[in-house]
Amino acid sequence: MSLSVADLSYTYNMGLPTEAAALKNISFEAEKGEIFSIVGHTGSGKSTLAMHLNGLMVLQSGEVIVDGIRVGGNPSDLRRIRQAVGLVFQYPEQQIFAETVREEISFGPSNWGLSGDALEERVCAAMDLIGLDRSFAQANPFMLSGGEKRRVAIASVLASDPDYLVLDEPSAGLDYNGLCELTSLLRKMSEKGKCVIHITHDLELALEISDRIMIISDGAVAAIGSPSEISGILSDIDIKGLILPDILSLSYELKKRGRIDKITSDPSELAEEIRTASSCR
């Protein structure tokens, strides 16, 4: 069981002078139990891709298959797909509307037809998962701090218990502690056997937390592989608008000049490499 995308293309304003290709023949498969990061520059088409994964966009060409169900096939399947694929948009706290945290978080599952104890259970489970104290349940979400709001918003997606969790730039604007909480949540979700699809422009973060990474540039797949594979090949391909993490780009440069042997994105490791190299000479 997986989420697979095959040969997906999408063009905005097809046939008009403002026509713009957003996705070009994208193919990948994300498995349950992994953190799959999609990395791309602003305007690379990653948000358009995210909206294809739960059928928010009408397919133009290619396929998206979730657990064997085709997006855009049978209209009655759409609800099943949206339940299975939870989508957390950028700045999700901007979608909060309810009067209490409990009501906000139960919006998803109650739309899917849950009620009573089953609904209550889902809400509590989601709050526990994201580390929101149950005493928050009756609080007014608009009175919470920015970080708490973000957690309520993510919990409201988790409450639908999706097997695939797609997050668009979830780390935007978070401080260090917020970021640590987020990464531990993503790890927890993948350990629970969920598939986490993490969309970001931050290659450094993606290299740190992902099991696999796909890099897209101008709507097309530029590279796909494990973090170590990706760090190995990034120096050879030129990716528009993508900035390499400092340590990685330094180590490429030193390797190219034959000063060190190993490419790494870890600062201590690089320092060690440099130290050995300079003591040898």
Partner: protein, 269 residues
């Protein structure tokens, strides 16, 4: 989202032509006068004159005919509807055909054609204004035109500033609304099924976040404007001050002569 980039500046097509360069006040004046005049136009030769004028202005200001015609698109239904009303309800001697109690008269058909054509010309002529004048020029023009009223307490500057800001935020709010709708649909919101009341209620999860967003934005925007030394309209100088020169005089004179010809043709018919 590239989806709406096309409508970013309303219909404005930037170009450097004599029509684009005209003071927005002169263009506003001519447009307002033409609205009145087109409504007074009855004869077909006079209408042909209007069509010719629109054609020439569009040529000079380098507006593609396709864009000009497309601008009448949204209002086409209205034009057809009013025309149909005229066909059937004007009344007249010569009945061409009838559907049940509805009788289409020859007189009605002619009136319908005339009204439809008139509306069409009107839309095209006003479109010329928005094609050749940027939103902020328009609001500048409006501010200057309403200026004399501010002596009687009319907030001319404020109205113009509101227009500028509203135009600026249309594309942004459009994008944000789209995102909120998508997010709620992802959480299972259903805007399509159920009766009218249920559907209206389904929009609450879209409207509340949108209002919150707009109020927050208004708050920061106010701070940002203060930071940039905004203190209302007093003492503000524009980067491109409006100048009414010989070009404007000539444009208004030409239009006056044209109007005289049109009125004459109207009388003759």
């Amino acid at each position: 989202m590239p989806l709406i980039r096309g409508m970013a500046l309303g219909q404005y097509i930037p170009a450097d032509t004599p029509i684009h360069r005209l003071d927005p006040r002169s263009k506003l004046l001519i447009t307002v006068l033409s609205m009145v005049l087109i409504f007074l136009t009855k004869s077909f030769p006079a209408m042909a004159m209007w069509a010719a004028l629109i054609f020439i202005v569009a040529k000079v200001s380098k507006i593609p005919a396709s864009s000009l015609l497309r601008s009448a698109g949204p209002i086409l239904i209205l034009i057809i509807f009013t025309s149909l009303l005229h066909v059937f309800f004007t009344g007249g001697e010569t009945v061409i055909f009838s559907i049940g109690p509805l009788r289409a008269s020859a007189e009605g058909t002619i009136t319908a054609f005339r009204t439809g054509l008139r509306l069409f010309l009107l839309v095209l002529f006003t479109a010329l204004l928005t094609f050749t004048t940027s939103p902020s020029e328009l609001s500048d023009g409006l501010e200057a035109a309403l200026g004399p009223l501010s002596r009687f307490g009319f907030p001319a500057h404020e109205v113009a500033m509101m227009m500028t800001i509203a135009l600026r935020f249309i594309p942004t709010l459009f994008e944000e609304t789209e995102r909120i709708i998508n997010a709620q649909v992802s959480r299972g919101a259903d805007f399509e099924s159920g009766g009218l009341l249920k559907r209206a209620k389904a929009y609450i999860p879209v409207l509340i976040p949108l209002f919150v967003l707009v109020f927050k934005r208004a708050d920061t925007l106010a701070s940002a404007m203060e930071t940039r030394c905004y203190r209302g309209g007093k003492g503000r100088v524009r980067m491109y001050p409006l100048t009414w020169g010989s070009a404007e005089n000539r444009a208004v004179l030409c239009f006056a002569l044209f109007s005289a010809v049109v009125l004459l043709l109207n009388r003759l018919a």
